[in-house]
């Protein structure tokens, strides 16, 4: 059995100065912006990766970029680690703190600053939720494309940290493809601007570097994002198959034929049952696997693409094809899909994997996943972005049974190794965080990791920003 994931040992010099640090930070954050009472720190000990928990030293809730800058500069001067937190929805423990760290929460910076429809951009504070951007520009016929399933709650700052994806990223790309600029505070308090309200900026493309850097290069406080005009129409269609293998093979052939629908989402029988129980969306319950394929455009465009997809699906013995009949039904179909993880909580605790594989390997990896889990006596539900090959096996277990919890973690590690061996990668959109940190060596060579760490070192020489995450603890450069 693998060992529990270790955090860096806390810095004794920081712990011993706790009272002074709290007094100093409180002075930088008037208006109740510092949480430090023992009781009140407990709810910040984890995010949506509840398997690991660590109390922070304090939680800072700034209201402005200037306050973020002041807090970071202070922490930099005194060698205090900082863990950024958006809405705390990370599935890989990206926002889990440690006893010597100040959590820097962006939840009070949630304003939409500017919407420029003519130039198709919106400027927002980092604590704004993903969905609220689309809700704000929706009445004008626009939307923000990347749509993580947690989009109701997750923040744009967190999306940038993890380079988040979502169901509709098959057509529109992930966060990095929809991000135009950021205001970011460096660990020493310096405020910098990267990119802007245009497609490319002169100089190095540091924006690409920042997107997906898991809060280790700086703290993003504002973002300028691309907003897009909504298609004329959109329609999710349900395709039911007898087996996961047939559904997986169908996905590969659709994409192989050069057809790019807006989304191709996969659910196996276990996931269908879970989602139907919550959303009552009318998913077929007699099939072994379900694809939700969304097409969009004019009626004619949707018809044409759908006809091509149906032809392919027939070759894979599709059992049912059902188009959503109304906007309400379409909304329910997506509500069920996007609530899949949470709804799983109705039947068990779970950990969610995020490996991505080449489409030709989907069926193989699904089968291996099943074998690994049943081999350990665990149940698994699969619900994921099939068009991108971005798999999310949900390994079900009982969190009050430590032996089973450990087995679930082992199963997860095995599954991710299978993904890498199949030519894929550890994480498609959730990030590395604490969860996949010690698997990084399966994916990257020492030279690969050393180069990434060199970049990190250039931004934050003392490794204060989210320090226990992403890179294995052994083999880091000496600070």
């Amino acid at each position: 059995m693998s060992q529990p994931i270790a955090f860096l040992p806390p810095r004794a010099a920081v712990l011993s100065q706790r009272a002074r640090i709290i007094a100093d930070l409180a002075a930088l954050l008037p208006d109740g912006g510092l949480v430090h009472e023992a009781r009140e720190l407990v709810p910040f000990e984890t995010d949506a990766y509840v398997a690991y928990r660590q109390l922070p030293l304090a939680v800072a809730l700034p209201r402005t970029t200037q306050e973020v800058s002041a807090v970071l500069a202070y922490c930099n001067r005194h060698g205090i680690p900082v863990v950024p937190r958006g809405a705390g929805t990370s599935l890989c423990g990206g926002a889990i703190p440690q006893p010597d760290a100040v959590v820097l929460g962006l939840s009070r910076m949630s304003a939409i600053l500017d919407v420029d429809l003519d130039n198709r951009v919106a400027r927002v504070q980092a604590g704004v939720t993903n969905l609220s951007i689309s809700e704000t520009v929706g009445p004008e016929g626009f939307f923000y494309a990347p749509d993580p399933s947690s989009q109701l709650a997750c923040t744009i700052g967190g999306n940038i940290g993890m380079n988040s994806g979502g169901a509709h990223c098959l057509k529109y790309g992930v966060t990095t493809n929809n991000l135009l600029g950021v205001t970011m505070v460096l660990m020493d308090g310096t405020v910098i601007t990267l990119g802007g309200a245009h497609l490319d900026a002169a100089g190095y493309d540091l924006l690409g570097l920042v997107c997906g850097s898991e809060g280790q290069l700086g703290i993003v406080t504002e973002a300028t994002v691309r907003i897009l005009a909504k298609a004329e129409g959109a329609r999710p269609v349900l395709f039911g198959f007898a087996t996961s293998q047939e559904a997986g093979a169908c996905v590969a052939e659709i994409i192989g034929a050069g057809i790019i629908p807006v989304a191709i989402e996969f659910m196996d029988r276990q996931a269908i049952e879970i989602c139907e129980a919550f959303a009552k969306a009318g998913y077929p319950l007699h099939v072994g696997a379900l694809l939700i394929i969304e097409v969009e455009g004019s009626e004619a465009e949707m018809e044409a693409m759908l006809a091509a997809i149906v032809t392919i699906a027939r070759r894979h013995s599709v059992m049912t094809v059902r188009e959503s009949q109304s906007a309400t039904e379409a909304a329910l179909i997506w509500k069920g899909r996007k609530s899949a993880f949470g709804a799983t909580g109705r039947i068990a605790d779970y950990i969610c994997m995020d490996g991505t594989v080449p489409l030709g390997k989907l069926s193989h990896v699904l089968q291996r996943t099943e074998e690994i889990c049943t081999g350990l006596g665990l149940r698994v539900a699969n619900v994921f972005h099939a068009g991108d090959g971005n798999m999310h096996p949900l390994i079900l277990f009982d969190a009050n049974d430590p032996a089973e919890a450990a087995k679930a973690e082992d199963a997860g590690n095995e599954i991710l190794k299978v993904c890498v061996e199949a030519g894929g990668c550890l994480t498609g959109e959730h990030g590395v965080g604490i969860e996949k940190r010690d698997l990084m060596r399966f994916q990257f060579s020492d030279a690969d990791l050393a180069q990434q760490m060199a970049v990190r070192y250039a931004f934050d020489a003392d490794w204060l920003l989210n320090p226990s995450k992403v890179f294995p603890l052994e083999g880091r450069p000496a600070a």
Binding site: R39, P43, V50, G88, T129, L152, G342, G345
Partner: protein
């Protein structure tokens, strides 16, 4: 989510229930997004997930409530938007109910807070005392700005602000329905605060039902539903109110032929529908309470069984405010709007319809600042629909929103009574 309770702790049925609720939560954080206090304050401690975690920590460690925990639990509106959002089916309502009882049993509030709460619990559930208090408030209103400046007294200022400027006209109690029941026989909860604040609501209900041939029983001995004290964690008092009503209604139920217990204040409805759960451990009352809860209906639920005929469109735009106790507490969302549309009204939904108006029982008195922020937000969204009138199904919301806008606000049933042959609601003027 993992929990750590000992078998001894789990022997307490209340703890056992809360443990089951906590095990459902997977800490996904969806609930934060639709929580009015998280949206307003931006601190996870003031979100459902944060409170769930605070409660878990307190119960697991068998700890008395303390100032920090109480602060964040008190800020919860019990609007239950989180339960609509939660994909895992976490029964937040019964968890926070348990926490409130635990607070009441283990924590001594500061003197001022105790006095205000004692006052509310002693006055609001009793119509005669509440009427007297309202009369007093009209005289004392000029003191409000003074009181607001002394923080512990701010709730008194909030009370004075909320009290209607004019006394509600006393109306005779609804006529007892002795006439033959062609289309059913129901009990109509008279209520406590509502008849003092706005007796026109139940009067409209009686007119409408009577015209439709529904007989209305008014059982003796009925009183406040207990919601107000229930939300303060004063469980013995709340259960006494519940038992008293159950006794009064059981006599009617056993007389036979009762179709429903109707409630026109959805805050009360949510509590009465929960009587079965509240008294589940009381061997004498569990079965009777369950029967009462099963018969409880919001007035709009009952009206929709009467097949009210479609009426020609009329030139009146209604902004429908969905009370939290209706949409989240009882999951009644489309019905009231459908009734209004069928009656010929043009119905508009405000933006952010899921957010509470800040009324929430005694919340607007006990948490005046957050409540005022939510009221402004709600009024802004309602006014943006450019309505002629606002309709809602809960007296708390009517009072709260009414104190923040010049647009007339009425109970849904008043518009329905008017459309189906009753008088035009006086609040509409003309």
């Amino acid at each position: 989510m993992q929990t750590s309770f000992t078998p001894e702790q789990l022997a307490d049925p209340h703890v056992a229930e809360s443990e089951k609720i906590l095990r459902r939560c997977v800490h996904c954080g969806f609930c934060t997004a639709t929580c009015p206090t998280y949206v307003t304050l931006g601190n996870e401690l003031d979100s459902p997930r944060g409170r769930i975690y605070l409660i878990k920590d307190m119960l697991e460690n068998d700890r008395p409530a303390d100032r920090e925990v109480v602060t964040h639990i008190d800020r919860c509106l019990s609007c239950l938007a989180c339960t609509t959002t939660c994909p895992s089916g976490v029964d937040y309502m019964h968890l926070i109910d348990h926490a409130r009882v635990h607070i009441e049993q283990t924590y001594q509030r500061p003197l001022g807070d105790r006095m205000i709460r004692g006052l509310l619990a002693a006055v609001l559930p009793y119509p005669a005392r509440f009427r007297a208090a309202l009369a007093l408030a009209r005289v004392a209103r000029p003191l409000a700005p003074l009181l607001r400046r002394v923080k512990p007294l701010a709730p008194l200022a909030a009370m004075l602000d909320l009290a209607p400027r004019r006394a509600a006209k006393r109306r005779p109690a609804p006529a007892s329905g002795d006439h033959p029941a062609a289309h059913g026989r129901v009990i109509l909860l008279e209520g406590c605060a509502q008849p003092a604040l706005d007796p026109g609501i139940n009067a409209a209900t009686v007119r409408l039902l009577t015209r439709r041939g529904v007989a209305i029983a008014t059982p003796k001995g009925e009183g406040c539903c207990g919601a107000l004290v229930h939300h303060m964690g004063r469980e013995p008092q709340a259960l006494d109110f519940a038992r008293r009503n159950i006794d009064a209604w059981t006599r009617e139920i056993e007389a036979g032929g009762l179709d429903a217990i109707l409630i026109t204040a959805s805050g009360c409805g949510t509590t009465i529908k929960d009587y079965g759960h509240m008294l589940r451990l009381d061997p004498l009352y569990a079965a009777k309470a369950a029967r009462v809860s099963a018969l409880a209906r919001d007035i709009t639920e009952y009206l929709s069984t009467l097949d009210l005929e479609p009426l020609p469109k009329r030139d009146l735009v209604v902004a429908y405010h969905s009370a939290c106790s209706l949409q989240h507490g009882q999951k009644i969302t489309a019905l009231p709007k459908l009734l209004l549309k069928t009656a010929g009204f043009t119905v508009r939904d405000p933006a952010e319809g899921h957010l509470c108006c800040g009324s929430a029982g005694t919340y607007n008195i006990l948490q005046p600042e957050i409540s005022a922020t939510l009221k402004r937000r709600k009024v802004k969204n309602l006014e943006a629909t450019k309505p002629d009138v606002i309709a809602a199904g809960n007296i708390g919301c009517l009072t709260q929103i009414g104190s923040g806008t010049a647009i007339p606000i009425v109970h849904t049933v008043e518009l329905l009574d008017w459309a189906y042959g009753g008088p035009r609601p006086s609040k509409l003027g003309g």
